[in-house]
């Protein structure tokens, strides 16, 4: 008997693994964001390209530098920094100075993610941390909007001459003289707003892909959107307008559904979505800002551990626990 030579590999079961891994999931998220990226380029031209590139490159670089400094393995190949950079770019105005965008991306990655321990350990959605930081630091740059191009037949090259305007939500908030856009404009995305948030259609196409691939749970976006719809309808506002305007579609499908910062229980995800919805409407209707998606998600991120704790399910063969 030969037990000395040619020993086989011994490992703990299971010996089979699904094809899924973090990197493939991040790749799918990037794919899901592509329609909105194309819409952004279509509506905002080269501005969109430069802002997106600035954010993505800065995010990846700052992740690499942060990990080097902290003597950790550099994990930029998992694609999570690319996703954070893309998402941050999507919630910035198209005319944002590039150095501000770069600072936002670095803050998102370094403070929002690596100060907490890196992928999986952050409490808040890093991209939203980046946005919140920029809104607090450069409020004017973060609220200077341009009218979209494209549908007017204006070519992207003339984007330097873009007309300054207001977002639909700001129009509503400020009672400005400008008329509100139609549902059709809101749905297609030829309205003023952050880069990637304006086209509900493009975002929904991407969201469907993520739902189909099983990467996001329908519970969060549907409870979020449902709450906004019902709440605005109850207080006499225009529910369809509120669904389509601002960053709600982007937030509900791509930010609130972030694995790391949303609850892991099914019931918890519904509570999370409802909480986001309530806070969004409260901020939009009665808060100081025209838009509340970013802060509502950040606030609910904070509640995630608590929600998880109190929504734990019943174990198979066990009785229902009363929390």
């Amino acid at each position: 008997m030969n037990t000395q030579g040619n020993l086989l590999i011994v490992s703990s079961s299971p010996h089979l693994h699904s094809e899924n891994c973090v990197a493939t999931t991040m790749r799918d998220v990037v794919i899901a964001l592509l329609p909105a990226l194309f819409a952004a380029i279509y509506f905002f031209g080269m501005d969109a390209v430069t802002v997106v590139l600035t954010c993505v490159i800065t995010a990846v670089l700052s992740e690499a530098i942060a990990q080097k400094i902290m003597h950790r393995e550099v994990t930029i190949s998992d694609g999570s920094a690319v996703v954070t950079g893309l998402l941050l770019a999507f919630c910035l105005p198209p005319t944002i100075p590039l150095w501000i965008a770069a600072i936002g991306a670095a803050v998102a990655i370094v403070i929002g993610k690596h100060f907490f321990g890196g992928l999986g350990c952050n409490i808040f959605n890093p991209a939203l941390i980046g946005r919140a930081f920029l809104v607090a630091s450069w409020p004017v740059a973060m609220t200077t909007w341009v009218a979209p191009l494209g549908l007017d037949g204006v070519s992207a090259a003339t984007s330097v001459d873009s007309i300054t305007t207001a977002t639909p939500l700001a129009i509503l908030k400020g009672g400005l003289a400008q008329g509100l856009p139609s549902y059709g404009q809101l749905f297609m995305g030829n309205i003023a707003g952050c880069l990637g948030e304006t086209s509900a259609l493009a975002l929904l196409v991407g969201a469907l892909y993520l739902l189909f691939r099983g990467h996001i749970d329908w519970r969060i976006p549907f409870s979020y959107l449902g709450t906004v719809f019902v709440f605005t309808w109850l207080i006499g506002a225009d529910p369809v307008f509120h669904l389509l305007a601002g960053g709600l579609m982007l937030g509900a499908f791509f930010m609130a559904t972030d694995w790391v910062t949303s609850p892991i229980t099914k019931k918890g995800r519904i509570i999370f979505g409802i909480g986001c919805g309530l806070l969004t409407v409260i901020i939009r209707m009665w808060g100081g800002y025209p838009e509340g998606v970013c802060y509502s998600i950040l606030l609910m991120n904070l509640a995630t551990p608590l929600i998880d704790r109190y929504t734990r399910g019943r174990v198979f063969g066990g009785v229902k626990k009363h929390a």
């Binding site: 008997m1 011994v10 299971p14 010996h15 699904s18 973090v22 999986g120 350990c121």
Partner: protein, 447 residues
């Protein structure tokens, strides 16, 4: 009749095409068999033969103390040439009774057909099952007579025969169901009789439509026995999930199937019971599947217990490529062995040989809280939360999260995009909980 299932679980590639169409062939009876004294859950046996003794086929050669044990029988006739510690498919070294085959195939005189098995009492049937050394042949190897013993105040409403076989690559039960269906039904009837139970269910996963159709035809004339088709999903063959799928009953936490009024036996166990009761043949051989991408000719073999894996691999034309892992059991729950020179035991339902892959392995990440493990867990646990507690040595908290309910099916780890070895953490939690309880008990005793 609808196709039923359980909640949670994962959809796996079956990898069964290679062997499901291959009839069971009798493997070459080896010149030497190695019979470990521990082939079951419970007290190991002590040899009752000595080196130099002549033994006959079917002769009892080792027995254990207590109730939860199962005796071992010689699988060939010949001479005991050694009793020594040898590698066991469980991963450790276990005392083995080594018998040199004289190829006379002489049966022991204890092995004789029963003249009228119809007249046996429930007690007689259980006694025969115990004496024949029959254990759960799906891989769990729990002694069968223990499951059948009456429990005060509890009654079995259903006997379920497990013909699910949800592990990838393994087709041994499938072939047995196609080739020996009448033995399985006969076994079920003895089980029903020994437990005074009226209803029997033969549960088969929908990926074996030929077996479902065959049994449906055969049970038409059997009173109280029905066939239940089950959705193809892993771990459909897990006892608790099987019971739920068939009866909508949940085995309570910390309880046994009998607490839900059900007893489950594997189809292979039922066939072995029929052989023991009617023919007096103890458990000395079994059907297993030898498959995987690292084997030349996958096959379903009828094998004498004590045959080495290496002998079967040789019979199947040897390795294809360089072997990386040899798994005793299935891909999801089987154990890797460090050498192919381990013997087939009562619970060996399959041997899977995986060849060396050139592709690099995905790295492990931090948990990204995707909750796929929670969705996959058929026991509704939070594997990732328990794993995090184990990392911080918080075993009491892990126990409160019901870590002990884990059946180690591997569904969580299979689904995990961060490739965290969740099952290993869960196993650790269970070991520590057992240790904690033992300590609490001994501390309590001292006071």
């Amino acid at each position: 009749m609808s196709i039923r299932t359980f909640k949670g679980g994962v959809h796996l590639a079956g990898y069964k095409e290679g062997t499901q169409g291959l009839p069971i062939v009798e493997a070459k009876v080896p010149g030497i068999v190695y019979l470990p004294v521990s082939q079951h859950l419970g007290a190991p046996c002590e040899p009752i033969v000595q080196v130099g003794d002549e033994v006959k086929k079917g002769q009892k050669i080792a027995e254990g103390k207590g109730f939860v044990t199962a005796p071992i029988h010689a699988s060939v006739s010949g001479k005991v040439i050694a009793i020594e510690k040898r590698p066991h498919p469980g991963g450790n070294f276990v005392n083995c009774i080594v018998i040199e085959n004289d190829f006379k195939e002489e049966w022991a005189d204890t092995v004789k057909p029963h003249p009228n098995p119809e007249e046996l009492s429930p007690d007689d049937i259980r006694k025969i099952i115990f004496e024949a050394g029959i254990v759960g042949m799906g891989g769990a190897t729990f002694p069968s007579h223990v499951k059948l013993a009456p429990v005060e105040g509890k009654k079995a409403d259903y006997i379920i025969l497990n013909g699910v076989e949800c592990e990838p690559y393994i087709t041994a039960d499938h072939r047995l169901m196609l080739e020996k269906p009448e033995r399985i039904i006969a076994g079920l009837k003895y089980i029903l009789k020994s437990t005074a139970c009226k209803k029997g269910i033969i549960a088969i996963e929908e990926n074996k439509p030929d077996a479902i159709a065959l049994f449906k035809k055969l049970v038409v004339k059997e009173k109280g026995i029905r066939v239940q088709a089950l959705r193809e999903k892993y771990p459909q063959g897990s006892e608790k999930q099987l019971i739920y799928a068939c009866t909508k009953r949940e085995v309570p936490v910390g309880g046994l199937p009998i607490d839900a009024g059900v007893i489950v036996h594997n189809v292979g166990t039922a066939a072995a019971i029929a052989d023991a009761v009617e023919l007096g043949i103890p458990l000395i051989q079994r059907v297993l599947t030898l498959s995987g991408d690292g084997i030349q000719k996958p096959a379903n073999y009828l094998v004498r217990l004590g045959t080495l894996f290496s002998a079967l691999i040789e019979e199947s034309g040897g390795y294809q490529g360089e072997p990386e892992k040899i798994i005793a059991g299935g891909l999801m729950m089987g154990k890797t062995v460090f050498t192919a020179d381990v013997p087939v035991i009562k619970g060996s339902s399959g041997i899977v040989v995986l060849k060396k892959k050139t592709a690099s392995k995905a790295r492990e990440y931090n948990c990204v809280r995707c909750a796929k493990c929670i969705d996959a867990c058929p026991l509704f646990l939070e594997p990732t939360t328990i794993a995090k507690l184990v990392k911080r040595n918080l075993f009491k908290e892990a126990e409160q999260m019901n870590a002990f309910s884990c059946i180690e099916c591997g569904s969580c780890q299979y689904s995990c995009p961060a490739r965290i070895p969740l099952v290993q953490y869960l196993r650790r939690a269970k070991q520590e909980i057992v240790a904690m309880k033992a300590k609490a008990k001994s501390d309590g005793g001292k006071k």
